[in-house]
């Protein structure tokens, strides 16, 4: 895996470092006791991308810190909002059935000072559009992502910019669960590096019916072969064992009817 990207790195005075992951290009520089960071995305950067100098369109952001240090830490982190994950093909889960699926989420990178872990910036490796999960009067802002909802990962290509999340879906309702889209609250998950890929700990979703909240349980169970010491990012929010929340139903149904 891009070991040259993740972890600690030292910047040399006046010299520029560059790395890219997913669609993201990042330039780092240490100059006049400041850390300079510039970034851009593949679709937006035109022409040849030079490693020693970002294109003119890209602007530098300067960071001055009381700890004058040229040592940076680059870490993978989960997105800063929940994700509404849409399955490419609908998956119907019959009553009293439990299945395991894998969904792959584009990661963000966190640039922080190596000395005190002070966060400088966080950048998505792929720009995701945002979506609304809830009703017109209340709900939450989420990122919009699509998934293949794979049952088996053996045929999936390894990608540097995604984290694989095992999800156990348990349909405890008497009705079929249409696994077309669901709200995936990733802020309570950790990231582990294993076999040149990023993995998250297991999430278990217990579906009780359309009008009831689903139980979302962070089991903390790690995929086979992964150990705690391989953790590369802690959860954004303090882990709670479970939460009862709306996961499958969006309740936003009046747009088509009341177009005006």
């Amino acid at each position: 895996m891009g070991n040259e990207i993740w972890g600690d790195r030292s910047l040399q005075d006046g010299k520029t470092q560059h790395f890219s992951v997913g669609d993201l290009h990042v330039w780092l520089r240490f100059r006049d006791e400041e850390i300079w960071i510039a970034h851009g995305y593949k679709g937006e950067l035109k022409g040849n991308i030079k490693e020693d100098q970002p294109p003119k369109k890209v602007e530098w952001v300067r960071w001055a810190n009381k700890t004058i240090s040229a040592d940076l830490r680059i870490q993978p982190v989960f997105p800063d909002l929940p994700l509404v994950v849409n399955s490419e093909y609908s998956l119907m889960v019959s009553p009293d059935t439990q299945i395991q699926i894998y969904t792959r989420i584009p990661i963000w990178i966190r640039v922080s000072l190596a000395k005190n872990n002070y966060k400088l910036t966080e950048l998505p490796t792929i720009k995701l559009s945002r979506t609304w999960f809830g009703t017109p009067t209340e709900g939450e802002l989420c990122y919009y992502a699509t998934t293949k909802a794979r049952r088996d990962l053996s045929r999936a290509d390894k990608k540097q910019h995604v984290v694989t999340c095992p999800i156990l879906v348990n349909n405890k309702s008497p009705e079929e669960l249409n696994f077309e889209h669901f709200c995936f609250r990733v802020e309570r998950l950790s990231i582990y590096e294993y076999n040149d890929e990023f993995w998250a700990d297991e999430t278990r979703i217990v579906y009780h019916g359309e009008d009831l909240n689903s139980d979302v349980i962070m089991t903390g169970k790690l995929p086979e072969g992964i150990q705690k010491k391989q953790m590369v990012a802690i959860p954004r929010k303090e882990i709670k064992k479970s939460l009862a929340t709306r996961t499958f139903k969006r309740l936003f149904e009046d747009t088509q009817i009341f177009g005006r």
Partner: protein, 287 residues
């Protein structure tokens, strides 16, 4: 000097000292309590409640303080209260508007059509709510003017709370020429919405065939954004639509009128009937 000494010797000094002490201790305590109540209710509920709680505590405390001070100075409240009845009637007639505003203010507080920091529109005034007071609501407009609106007027008028709900829809009116393929236009508009950074994927953008206009086919393009990014969406998406249409050769028509001579299929024929006269006129102008 002898007058002061006589005054103190008469035993008046003690109550004055007491009053001074009461004022010195009570006023800072009241201010502290007001600040604490403001912070507590703002943190726990909303800035609106913080302001109200602060005022309630301060003015109640002030009333108690005045009554206590009067008691210490030996001023009896009974004749004052008696007089207050008569004065009250007179004041009642004189302050009808103020009372109406106060009662309207109470309704506003109970009904909560808006809170401090919300953006509201009343009549033609739009601004951020600075405070909801006993008599009036204060707004700051976006061109930085201070507007005071009496509570009574707000109760009687239609109020639009722009920021009440977390997401908002922008309705873009799009006109395209009759020759354009509407299916293609739909595709392009959806593409623009998908690429716009403020547009939400869900609720899905919607295109409605609005009307066969006099010069164009009119469409409504409905896109949602978080309420705080509404203006950014409005600005960016219209520019992007124009750029996309220019790029793809989609005509945005200006109003025009077609003239036909009796039949819709036959164009109006134009004949030059007085060419010579026209040329003569031209000559005379040149001369």
């Amino acid at each position: 000097m002898s007058t002061i000494n006589t005054y103190i010797a008469d035993g008046n000094f003690q109550p004055i000292l007491k009053v001074a002490l009461i004022i010195i201790i009570t006023v800072p305590v009241l201010l502290l309590l007001r600040g604490w109540a403001r912070r507590f209710f703002t943190k726990k509920y909303a800035p609106h409640y913080g302001m109200l709680a602060g005022k309630l505590i301060f003015y109640s405390g002030l009333t108690i303080l005045v009554v206590t001070v009067m008691g210490q100075l030996g001023i009896s409240l009974a004749p004052l209260l008696g007089a207050a009845g008569i004065v009250g009637i007179a004041l009642g007639f004189a302050s009808q508007t103020s009372v109406s505003n106060i009662i309207s203010g109470l309704f506003l507080i109970a009904e909560q059509p808006f809170k401090v920091d919300d953006i509201i529109t009343i009549n033609n005034t739009t601004g951020v709510v600075l405070s909801i007071d006993v008599l009036s609501v204060k707004l700051r407009t976006f061109d930085n003017q201070f507007v005071r609106i009496p509570n009574e007027m707000i109760i009687k008028t239609e109020v639009t709370n722009v920021t009440r709900f977390p997401i908002r829809r922008f309705n873009a009116k799009i006109s395209v020429a009759y020759k354009e393929d509407i299916g293609r236009v739909r595709e392009l508009l959806m593409e623009v919405a998908e690429k716009n950074e403020y547009s939400l994927s869900e609720p899905e953008p919607l295109i409605i065939f609005d009307a066969f206009g006099s010069s164009s086919i009119d469409l409504l393009f409905l896109i949602w954004a978080p309420v705080k990014e509404y203006v950014l969406l409005k600005n960016s998406i219209q520019e992007e639509i124009k750029a996309k249409f220019d790029e793809e050769g989609i005509e945005i028509p200006f109003p025009h009128v077609s003239l036909y001579a009796g039949s819709a299929s036959k164009p109006l024929s134009v004949e030059m009937v007085q060419r010579q006269t026209g040329e003569k006129q031209k000559d005379s102008v040149q001369n």
